[in-house]
C-alpha cells in the first residue's frame, strides 16, 4: 500500500479523454517519476491530485484518506506540497517573508487571525524560516525581493517553501523546464540531497530524461491518458513499449 493510491481515475474534457483508467501507487519515501510525451495527461493527473481538478470517476487516496472534493489548501494541509512548472512565489515580498508564510501555514493552519502582534515577534517562525533559508543556501538573499531572484533561485526558493512545511509528499511539475543546464544540475543535486536527508516521498513529472534517470526509483510512463508501464529506471530504458511511445524520439 503506497502513500498515494490512484485507482481507476478518468477525466474527460468534452470529447477528449485526458485520463483513461489511471492506476498509480507511489510507495512511501520513494522518488516516483511520471513521464510521457506531450499531451499524455501528466499535468491533468497532477491537477487531480492537488484539488485543482476533480476526476470524473475513480479515487485518489493519500495516506488512507480521499483527497477528492477537497480544496487545494485542505490537501496541502494533509501533507502534499506542490512545486509548479514556472516557480510560483510571492514576487512582491522579500525572500524571508516568502519563507515565513509556509511556516505560518504549517504552525497555524489554513486561517489564523493574528492582526495585532508583530510578525517579527514570532520567534519560532523566524527561526524556522531562517533555518530553511540556510538549508537552501539562500540566507544571504533574505532581504531581496523575490521577483528579482534568478530563475534557478526562484525554483530553489519555491522548493524551500514547500520543504518548510515538512510535507509527506512533494509533487514537482517539470521542475527544470526552461532552465539552463547549470541550473538544472543544481536542482537535481538539491532534490537528491532532499531525498537523502528527509523522510519524504517525491512524485515528479518531467520531460528531461537526464533529470528522471538521475532521481527516480520508479517510473510510470503515461501515453494518451493511460499508464503503459511502471518499472525501475534500468528496465524502462530498454522497454519496447516505451521506446515505441516515447523514448524512440528522445534517443536514450
Amino acid at each position: 500500500m503506497g502513500i498515494l493510491e490512484v485507482k481507476g481515475v478518468n477525466k474527460r474534457f468534452g470529447g477528449l479523454q485526458a485520463l483513461g483508467d489511471v492506476n498509480l501507487s507511489v510507495a512511501e519515501n520513494s522518488v516516483h517519476a511520471i513521464i510521457g510525451p506531450n499531451g499524455a495527461g501528466k499535468s491533468t493527473l497532477l491537477n487531480c491530485l492537488v484539488g485543482k481538478l476533480i476526476p470524473d470517476t475513480g479515487s485518489v487516496m493519500f495516506d488512507g484518506q480521499s483527497v477528492l472534493g477537497r480544496s487545494p489548501h485542505e490537501i496541502n494541509q494533509m501533507g502534499i506540497s506542490r512545486v509548479f512548472q514556472t516557480p510560483e512565489i510571492f514576487g512582491d515580498l522579500s525572500v524571508m517573508e516568502n519563507m515565513m508564510i509556509p511556516c505560518f501555514a504549517k504552525r497555524d493552519g489554513s486561517f489564523e487571525m493574528k492582526a495585532f502582534s508583530p510578525t517579527l515577534g514570532e520567534k519560532d517562525i523566524v527561526e524556522h524560516a531562517e533555518e530553511v533559508l540556510v538549508d537552501m543556501n539562500m540566507a544571504d538573499k533574505r532581504n531581496m525581493n523575490a521577483a528579482s531572484l534568478s530563475r534557478g533561485d526562484k525554483r530553489r526558493l519555491e522548493i524551500g517553501m514547500c520543504l518548510a512545511q515538512n510535507p509527506r509528499l512533494l509533487l514537482l511539475d517539470e521542475p527544470t523546464a526552461g532552465m539552463a543546464r547549470a541550473d538544472t544540475n543544481n536542482t537535481i543535486d538539491l532534490l537528491k540531497q532532499i531525498k537523502d536527508e528527509r523522510d519524504i516521498t517525491i512524485a515528479i513529472i518531467e520531460h528531461d530524461m537526464h533529470v528522471v534517470f538521475s532521481l527516480a526509483e520508479r517510473i510510470t510512463v503515461l501515453a494518451q491518458g493511460t499508464p503503459l508501464v511502471e518499472e525501475t529506471p534500468e528496465n524502462i530504458k530498454g522497454h519496447p513499449k516505451v521506446r515505441e511511445a516515447y523514448l524512440g524520439e528522445a534517443q536514450v
Partner: protein, 402 residues
C-alpha cells in the same frame, strides 16, 4: 514602544504632533493678510481632514495590502452615519454610543457585502461592490425612508427620546433647544480661540476628539500592517495560487480584511454624524466611494501615512481652492497691465473656484504618471535629493507634505 519598531513609532509621533498642532500649522497666514483665505485651520475643515483620514486609512488596509479595489466603501460610510444618527436620536447625545454603534453596523453590512463580493476578484469584485453601494444609496433615498429619512435625510430634533439618563447624554431637550452632540457634556462645537499677534488659532473640542480617534485608528493600522495577518494580505495581493497551495485559505483572510476596512469607514461615518448631526443619502453615492480611491492613490497606495495625506490634500482643495473667484484673481494680478491681467486671469480661471476638479484631475494624472507612489514617493524623492544620509523607508517615513 507600544509594540512598534523605532521607525513606526517615530511616524506615529510625527502624526500625533501634526494632529495636535494642526490648528497652528494650518493657519500659516495672518488673519488680515491677502493669503488668509488659504488658511485651513478652522474646525469644520480640520474635522473633515481627520475623519476622511480615518476613512482612507481603512480603505488602504483593503486596497493597499490586498489590491482589491472596492468601489463601494461609501455604503459603509453612509451606513455608519445613519447608525450613529439613530444612537444620537434614541439613546444619548453623547458621541460614544454613536461611534461604537456605527462601527458595529458598518462591520455587519460589510460582512454581508464582502461575503458575496469576494467570490470574485479584480474588476468583477470592484463592480460588485459598486453595485451594492448603489443599491444601498437607492434604498436609503427611497424604500428605507422610515430609517434614513429619504431625501430630506436624518437630523436630531426635539421629539427624539434619548432614553439614557441625562448625565450620560440622555434627554430630548437642552433648555428648549436641540442638544448638540457632546462627549460627557463637552459639546463638539466648543472651541477655544487664541489670538496671537496677527494670527488667530481655534482649538476645537470636536476636532481633538476626532484627532485622537484617528491616531488610535492609525496606530491599529500600523499594527495590522506589521502583523502576520498583514503579511497574509500582502501574500493575497502577490500570488493567490501559491497561497492556496501553501495550505492557506484566502477567503477568510479577505473577508476579515474587508470587514476591518468597512468598520473604519463606519467609524468615519459615525464621526461625521457626531460632528454635524445630519445625514443624507448622498453620503453613500458612488462619487464618495471614488473620492476615497483618489485619496489613497494620491497619497500613496499601501503606505501608512499616504492615505491621510491624500485625504488632507483633496479636502483642502475641495474647501479652499474652490473658494477663489475671479474678482479675487483680479485683485492678485492687479499689478499687471490691464490686458495682461485679464489674459492671465482668463487662463487661470477655469482651474479654480468651481473648476477645482479640473486642477485635481490634472494633479491626479501627474501623480499617476510621474509619481506612482503618490505624495509619499514625492517626499522620499525630496528627502533623497537633499541627501539626508538616511534613506526614507518604504512605508512612508517622510516629511508630510501638508
Amino acid at each position: 514602544m507600544l509594540g512598534l519598531n523605532k521607525n513606526d513609532m517615530r511616524l506615529l509621533l510625527i502624526v500625533a504632533a501634526m494632529v495636535a498642532l494642526a490648528p497652528i500649522i494650518l493657519n500659516p497666514f495672518p488673519e488680515s493678510s491677502a493669503m488668509a483665505q488659504f488658511n485651513a485651520g478652522y474646525p469644520d475643515l480640520m474635522q473633515r481632514f481627520v475623519i476622511f483620514g480615518i476613512f482612507a486609512i481603512g480603505f488602504n488596509i483593503l486596497f493597499g495590502l490586498t489590491g482589491y479595489l472596492s468601489f463601494g466603501h461609501a455604503a459603509f460610510l453612509g451606513a455608519g452615519s445613519y447608525a450613529g444618527m439613530w444612537m444620537l436620536k434614541l439613546l444619548s447625545i453623547n458621541v460614544i454610543p454613536a461611534i461604537i454603534f456605527s462601527t458595529f453596523i458598518a462591520g455587519l453590512i460589510s460582512l454581508a457585502i464582502g461575503w458575496i463580493s469576494l467570490r470574485r476578484s479584480g474588476i468583477y469584485f470592484s463592480i460588485l461592490t459598486l453595485a451594492f453601494a448603489q443599491m444601498a444609496f437607492s434604498l436609503a433615498a427611497s424604500v428605507l425612508t422610515p430609517i434614513t429619512g429619504g431625501e430630506t435625510g436624518l437630523q436630531t430634533n426635539l421629539n427624539d427620546p434619548r432614553v439614557l439618563p441625562s448625565f450620560l447624554g440622555g434627554g430630548a431637550s437642552d433648555g428648549g433647544n436641540i442638544p448638540k452632540p457632546s462627549l460627557f457634556g463637552m459639546e463638539m462645537t466648543a472651541s477655544f480661540k487664541l489670538p496671537v499677534a496677527g494670527w488667530e488659532w481655534t482649538f476645537n473640542w470636536g476636532y481633538y476628539v476626532c484627532g485622537v480617534i484617528m491616531l488610535v485608528a492609525f496606530y491599529v493600522a500600523i499594527r495590522v500592517f506589521r502583523s502576520p495577518f498583514g503579511l497574509m494580505l500582502r501574500a493575497v495581493k502577490s500570488n493567490q495560487q501559491r497561497m492556496s497551495y501553501t495550505g492557506l485559505n484566502t477567503r477568510p483572510y479577505m473577508l476579515a480584511c474587508f470587514v476591518i476596512s468597512g468598520m473604519y469607514a463606519g467609524l468615519a461615518g459615525g464621526l461625521m454624524a457626531a460632528m454635524d448631526p445630519q445625514v443624507g443619502a448622498e453620503r453613500m453615492q458612488w462619487t464618495a466611494s471614488g473620492e476615497v480611491v483618489l485619496m489613497t492613490i494620491l497619497g500613496g497606495i499601501g503606505t501608512l501615512i499616504g492615505p491621510v495625506l491624500g485625504a488632507g490634500l483633496i479636502k483642502y482643495f475641495e474647501n479652499i481652492f474652490s473658494k477663489i473667484n475671479s474678482s479675487l484673481l483680479h485683485e492678485w494680478f492687479a499689478f499687471l497691465p490691464d490686458g495682461l491681467e485679464d489674459f492671465i486671469v482668463a487662463i487661470i480661471y477655469p482651474f479654480i473656484g468651481k473648476g477645482w476638479h479640473l486642477t485635481l484631475g490634472l494633479m491626479f494624472m501627474a501623480v499617476i504618471i510621474f509619481l506612482p507612489g503618490g505624495l509619499v514617493e514625492l517626499g522620499q524623492r525630496i528627502a533623497r535629493r537633499f541627501g539626508k544620509g538616511r534613506t526614507a523607508n518604504a512605508t512612508g517615513e517622510t516629511k508630510p507634505a501638508e
